[in-house]
Subunit: 347 residues, 2 copies
């Protein structure tokens, strides 16, 4: 390791709020000296960052479940990395950790900020670094608690999940199978659909790009007993189509609406929402942070499934901090195949 | 009573499916001989019919929570009336009953149809005939179980209800007050709002006709602690506006969407539905029939409130079977003031 004094921290900051799809012009690259940790603090090196649809929402002004990223601020991002200097007995140099790194190469934390930044050690015997950003990280926790707590699937029911090849979708479908449900994915492109069925073991996967009535026809074909649980990551037309196929007492988990995040017009509301009335069904939002005190339980459970092969994961790794702007946009074009990860440094 | 043989039954049948607001042309008036009851059956005289927003939905083709009224069929309607001939020991001439009368003057029932038509005796010591169509009838049951079972209000919370001066809204707001909540209504016109506050005891009522930002401003003013439960009878813009003011963990009961029932274009979906995500809130549909085995409990409870003055009711009574087509449309113009009832005959 070079002397800390010689390290510079490459950062990516939000330069302006995007209208529609973010562009390079919305980002600003900066270089800063790396600050040494003070008593009680740590210095972390970023190894990999999680790129998530929710980031698009953080770039907008206005009230949400967390404040927006301020103009000029380092872009918020969760990640995994390594302790490279420590003045805290809880953390040793070489420890692997998960934290809110931000899109930058280094993060110096004072002890008072450990909790806010979600700093925790991670155990690479439970999963790889990138799995700690996927099924064992925020997306996995979102899928797990959204499905189990809000969706409350019962064995034999049909669970449909959109964004099935994405980070959250992988977890939802595989957990549904493990809990004895029929799992039907919706994803973009035949390659993703094949992988979801052949590798992850979903019962079926509908390629929404296959034609204008692909989702409608696919649901009819692959959910002959209707839809009991729908885990929605996309909103828009797909949500509306699923609403026409739900069963009495169905549960719809509203996790995101990636089809709407770059809209420059109003969000498209689900025009078939009265299906909730006809079917005595419910639609409920989930924010993963609410389950923080139970993350460890889900991590332990799913690490077991990773180990015994009942659960698999796939990450789409893009290399280099500088690639961040284009990498992020892969989420919105649906270009990523698996959980999108930005590798910032080699371990 | 005249001899049964001389009675004719005046009926109103669905002649065609309306596009938009129903017109006279959608209805057909018929006269039939009254059939005498067979062994085990009864003959009922219609006294009053309940006119409800849901009727508009029954006139459309297509799957819903109950089949549509067929073309040529007597229009479906719940009502109250009197037994005028009986060949069943459970029912005596002179008994008052509630049943699915249909829009007609007489109803002859065979015993096998008692259950399907919801035939039950009603006790006029618990409430008046029209109260049995209002707070003690389907609308009251809808308000009661929608609020209590789906909304699950806790004392101190803020409950908002649209269509506050209507049959369901009256029940919801008054039950909310009885359960220790802040009750805020939304209704059309100052007269209705004044009545909702002064007579029914709501804490406030917002006149949605008062201007384009009346609902937004009214919610800000009258729900300073946000909205915990929203009982939605109207859908459309009002639902969207309330979605911007809901609290963490809010419950939205989807009971109807009267603003959308006569649309000739697609239903307007709630474009602010992602507020469910931000606020970990839920939106859930209710159909009153699911609670049939507990109606008697709600009737007994609310009859007590009517008696001790904690609950009041208002009915808007239109007279004469022939007035049915125009009377029904009062619901959609918001012209009715209180639960809309069609009085078919004097007791």
């Amino acid at each position: 390791m070079p002397a800390l004094a010689t390290l510079t921290n490459h950062q990516i900051r939000l330069a302006s709020r995007p209208v529609g799809l973010p562009t390079r012009a919305n980002w600003q690259s900066t270089l800063e000296a790396v600050a040494e940790p003070v008593e009680g603090g740590v210095l972390l090196k970023t190894l990999a960052l999680s790129l998530d649809p929710a980031m698009r929402g953080w770039m907008n002004e206005g009230k949400s479940y967390i404040p927006p990223v301020a103009i000029g601020e380092v872009m918020r991002a969760g990640g995994v990395g390594k302790v490279i200097a420590s003045r805290n007995p809880q953390f040793a140099v070489g420890d692997y950790v998960s934290a809110g790194f931000g899109v930058q190469e280094y993060l110096t934390l004072v002890q008072a900020d450990f909790k806010r930044s979600g700093l925790v050690k991670i155990d690479l015997s439970m999963g790889t670094l990138t799995q700690w950003l996927n099924v064992l990280g925020m997306p996995g926790m979102t899928g797990y608690f959204g499905l189990m707590d809000v969706g409350q699937p019962r064995a034999g029911e049909t669970v449909v999940v959109s964004g099935a090849a994405g980070a959250v979708g992988q977890t939802v479908g595989q957990m549904a199978k493990i809990k004895g449900c029929r799992a039907v994915g919706i994803a973009g492109g035949q390659a993703k659909c094949d992988w979801v069925v052949k590798e992850l073991g979903f019962d079926a996967c509908i390629d929404y790009k296959a034609g204008p009535s692909a989702v409608k026809d696919g649901l009819k074909q692959h959910c002959p007993a209707g839809v009991d649980v729908y885990f929605d990551n996309v909103g828009g037309e797909i949500l509306d189509t699923v609403l026409t196929r739900i069963n009495r007492g169905a549960r719809i988990i509203i996790c995101g609406a990636i089809s709407q995040y770059n809209n420059t017009t109003a969000v498209q509301g689900p025009k078939n929402y009265l299906s909730l009335l006809v079917n005595r069904a419910r639609m409920e939002g989930i924010v993963v942070f609410d389950y923080a005190d139970r993350y460890h339980l889900a991590v332990t459970e799913m690490a077991g499934y990773l180990k015994d092969g009942r659960m698999k994961s796939k990450e789409d790794v893009v290399k280099g901090l500088d690639a961040f702007p284009e990498a992020l946009n892969k989420l919105f074009s649906g270009e990523n195949f698996g959980k999108l990860v930005l590798q910032v440094a080699e371990d």
